[in-house]
């Protein structure tokens, strides 16, 4: 089911979105150009370059997915080394369905190493006992241990449009033969038996956790903003090709057109390609969610320190010592573990507390360790 191509060469009609004209909203606008089974070609208008870029960065690096992270090798008589095979197993794409319900292993309270709440166990047990031809061990040979022998039927699903992903942790096999990536080959008599534990993670930690194959990103295809300068031998206009796809969305510069020095980048063209572990639109939504969570955690930290009803360390110093008070902290956003207590700038609302340098050890005594409550070497105020 191939995508619907928006082939208006004169650019996009800004009022084509939805039935109502949201002229009162000055917010961002989205236009999807192409929708293929794993790719979405779209553009965002009416935002800043910073937001567009931060979204791109979040999509590439910080969306939680699941991938094999721990391999126990019982038997490996193949020609590939243990760690070689373990590395390859880590790169096998696994379905990330409902992965937001999975705990990070390091945050999981239920266990010490790993358990059902924070991991998915897969097994692989292949031996070439009789065949003279080399057996190919594919990702499809990995079994979820929860399924005991039943192999899920990997259909070609339109993962850009429907969320019919297989169960979390199932290897994604998007090739024609539904084999999945090749892990290794076995000669007669060689065997490979492993147990693999897949955990939640993000691409910052290792690229195996990236849900995207690539994110194409461009703005100002005609270089009207002069953000770049084209290298040339004789004439830049003749040596460089014209921007084809994205150039159609914007008017090319006229011959004698003066340079608009007040113009800012306003339209950003994305080409988002998923690996298949999560639907492509889910990647976009999760990218936005990641950014929102970061901002929300900023707000949470700021808010609790400005709240005048909460005690701050200056009040407590005057009282002479108090017990550490965790003000309901401990929410784990994404990959962050709980951070302790309140920051050092808890003070009267709107008032600055003066020069508090971190070097004086004046960080909060709440749950952050470091200094004993009430120990203020230079007195209450930090002057």
């Amino acid at each position: 089911m191939n995508g619907y191509e928006y082939s208006n060469g004169y650019g996009h009609d800004p009022y084509a979105n939805g039935d109502t004209l949201d002229l009162s909203d000055d917010g961002p606008r989205v236009t999807i150009r192409t929708l293929a089974h794993n790719t979405i070609d779209f553009s965002i208008r009416n935002t800043s370059l910073a937001l567009a870029n931060s979204l791109r960065r979040a999509i590439l690096a910080e969306i939680p997915t699941i991938a094999i992270d721990l391999v126990t090798i019982t038997t490996n008589t193949s020609v590939l080394a243990d760690e070689f095979i373990a590395h390859r197993l880590g790169l096998v794409p696994l379905s990330a369905k409902d992965v937001d319900k999975l705990q990070y292993s390091r945050d999981c309270d239920n266990c010490t190493d790993y358990c059902e709440n924070c991991s998915v166990v897969l097994t692989l047990d292949v031996e070439n006992r009789t065949s003279d031809e080399h057996i190919h061990v594919f990702a499809k040979d990995l079994f979820l241990s929860s399924q005991s022998g039943y192999r899920p039927h990997n259909t070609l699903h339109n993962s850009a449009t429907t969320d019919d992903l297989p169960e979390m942790g199932t290897p994604i096999c998007s090739d024609e033969d539904r084999n999945g990536p090749l892990i290794c080959k076995l000669r007669k008599g060689q065997a490979l038996k492993i147990k693999a534990v897949a955990k939640k993670g993000i691409a910052i930690e290792h690229a195996k956790w990236a849900p995207t194959a690539a994110v194409g990103f461009e703005y100002d295809p005609w270089n009207k903003l002069r953000h770049t300068q084209y290298w040339y031998e004789v004439d830049a206009k003749e040596e460089w090709p014209l921007p084809e796809k994205n150039g159609q969305m914007e008017a090319p510069p006229q011959e004698g057109e003066p340079f608009d020095y007040n113009a800012e980048p306003r339209a950003f063209y994305y080409n988002l390609e998923s690996i298949g572990t999560m639907p492509t639109d889910a990647i976009f939504h999760n990218g936005i969610k990641v950014l929102q969570q970061k901002l929300a955690s900023v707000m949470t930290v700021l808010k609790e320190t400005s709240d005048p009803t909460q005690p701050n360390e200056f009040d407590n110093a005057a009282r002479g010592g108090q017990s550490p008070d965790m003000n309901g902290m401990g929410t784990a956003y994404g990959g962050q573990s709980a951070y302790g207590g309140r920051s050092a700038y808890g003070g009267p609302v709107g008032g600055d507390i003066g020069g508090m340098t971190p070097g004086y050890g004046g960080q909060s005594a709440y749950g952050a360790g470091g200094m004993t409550p009430g120990a203020m070497p230079y007195g209450n105020r930090g002057y």
């Binding site: 961002p28 989205v30 038997t75 939504h285 950014l291 930290v301 951070y339």
Partner: protein
């Protein structure tokens, strides 16, 4: 444990799992030089499978594969997760008021990078009450940045940062909605031939 056999013809039946100690003698194409394992002198006998003698998980604190050969390892490469997991005694945001100028403050964000920094910086820059905003990443090896904000006095740096975050969350939510709207529209169009139009 896996009672039903999968479709792959060569998958090993778990019942046949066992030690390799006796398999060498049966192989017709074994290298003539190598004696079968069972005929070796006692000190070279392999008792049980190889897997049981070597720890399944390599302890990163040691080099070497067997207990006798383990040498303590020295490694100063930090773990990758330290780029986004707060350390012990580390706070997400640290505040430092700038003494020389009124209504100015520096916020140090820990375990964050340009993704958040530039987003906040740009949003604050476009707010009228903000007179100065800038950020720097003091060192690329450490995931931390400092954001400096100076306001005109009508609002404190902390509050303007709070406000900027709030507005950004709203803007992102709008973007999310717009995308969903457009996506559903295109999905419908793709599922119906000719975009739903009558020929």
């Amino acid at each position: 444990m896996d009672s039903s056999t999968p479709a792959t013809p060569q998958t090993r039946n778990p019942k046949h799992a066992g030690s390799r100690a006796n398999e060498d003698a049966d192989k017709p194409d074994a290298t003539p030089q190598r004696k079968s394992l069972s005929k070796r002198p006692a000190e070279f006998q392999v008792h049980g499978s190889y897997a049981s003698r070597v720890p399944a998980v390599r302890d990163p604190k040691f080099h070497g594969s067997t207990e006798s050969k383990q040498v303590p390892a020295y490694n100063n490469v930090p773990d990758r997760f330290e780029l986004f997991v707060l350390g012990e005694d580390e706070k997400k945001i640290e505040y430092k008021a700038v003494t020389q100028i009124a209504n100015a403050a520096e916020f140090t964000f820990n375990k964050e990078d340009h993704t958040l920094a530039n987003l906040l910086r740009d949003k604050l820059f476009r707010m009228d009450q903000v007179q100065f905003v800038g950020y720097k990443v003091p060192h690329p090896l450490f995931a931390t940045f400092e954001l400096r904000i100076q306001t005109d006095g009508t609002i404190s740096p902390k509050d303007v940062l709070y406000k900027a975050s709030e507005e950004l969350i709203r803007e992102l939510a709008t973007l999310d909605q717009e995308f969903t709207k457009e996506f559903e529209l295109k999905k419908l169009a793709a599922n119906v031939p000719n975009g739903g139009m009558e020929i």
